[in-house]
Amino acid sequence: MYFESIAAAMDMNGHGVYVWLAYAITVSLLVWLFWAPARQLRVRRLWLIAEEQRRLASEALRSGATPPHDHAADGRSSSMESSG
């Protein structure tokens, strides 16, 4: 360890503001870089599931039966279409 105390590591002889700001900005950008595709994969999987449910429902409708209406799936799929 180069610094003798936490306060010294924070201050870095007056350069602490610059160093810690640079690291904070980098960390937040990198977190976004990892998080965004992980989230997209989840969102698209949900979209596919909702789409499949819609397809099954319309097929059931065509064959004459009344499908159970899934409001949650409807809301999810329409909001995801715009983001996809």
Binding site: L21, F34, L41, L48, E52
Partner: protein, 245 residues
């Protein structure tokens, strides 16, 4: 070897391979980043001239190095896409562009923050910095161009041409500190000859460069997997992955 290259072009194979790759490379990369940042911020000695502000080097240089290398990866994918019309190359190109843009952005922002205590200014229109700004716009241009086209093949073609034309900028960035009298310091680490940096400062820097390469690979593969799912949403392997069939 050839069978491996052939497999790379297969969407379901690559999706699975990419998932496995991310599963072990992601934690390794995060550990390297943490160790490198800790070492550079708190363990390495201060620079005898710049004091502690030089510690920004441990993110600034790796981000810049990988931003440049990443551009070659994107342009190479563009060339493969133009010559052989391989869809996977389009996907790789589209996946690399936002990662490159973020890395270039990090290099520019941390450079500006480093410039303030060292040069007394946030920004100068210096050859190295200006050419890095052009690199940033090239990456953003590819990202925007992919979104601008309705037709995917046309978008990939336009992006491939843009990224190939943009490669002219890369040697200019590398050589800018030698060609022009610049405020920006020349490279500290050299492959040939003695490096202008002490080992106590160089090891954490090398570690961070490796970590940023890992970060690039992981995030590009993650982006590619998202794209693959979307391109092949009608295919049975995607439907299997989503949990039906």
């Amino acid at each position: 070897m050839w069978s491996f290259i052939h497999k790379l072009g297969s969407p379901p194979w690559f999706f699975r391979f990419g998932g496995n790759l991310v599963r072990w490379l992601l934690p390794v990369t995060l550990i390297l980043l943490l160790v490198g940042a800790f070492w550079g911020l708190l363990v390495a000695p201060p620079d005898f001239r710049q004091g502690n502000s030089y510690r920004i080097i441990y993110i600034h240089v790796p981000a810049a190095v990988v931003a440049l290398a990443g551009y070659y990866v994107m342009a190479l994918a563009g060339a493969i896409s133009l010559i052989w019309r391989i869809k996977m190359a389009d996907i790789a190109m589209k996946a690399a562009a936002p990662v490159g843009a973020v890395l270039t952005g990090i290099a520019l922002v941390t450079g500006a923050i480093w410039g303030k205590p060292t040069w007394g200014t946030w920004w100068v229109w210096d050859a190295r910095i200006t050419s890095m700004l052009i690199l940033f716009f090239l990456y953003l241009g590819v990202v925007a161009l992919f979104e601008a086209y309705e037709n995917k093949a046309a978008a990939a073609k336009a992006c491939a041409v843009l990224s190939l034309v943009g490669t002219v900028n890369i040697p200019i960035i590398y050589k800018s500190v030698d060609w022009w009298y610049s405020l920006h310091q020349p490279a500290s680490i050299k492959f040939t000859g003695e490096s202008a940096i002490d080992a106590s400062m160089m090891y954490p820097l090398l570690l961070m460069i490796v970590a940023f390469y890992g970060l690039f690979a992981v995030t590009v593969v993650m982006n590619m997997r998202v794209e693959l799912i979307w391109h092949h949403r009608q295919s049975s392997w995607v439907r299997q992955w989503a949990g039906f069939e």
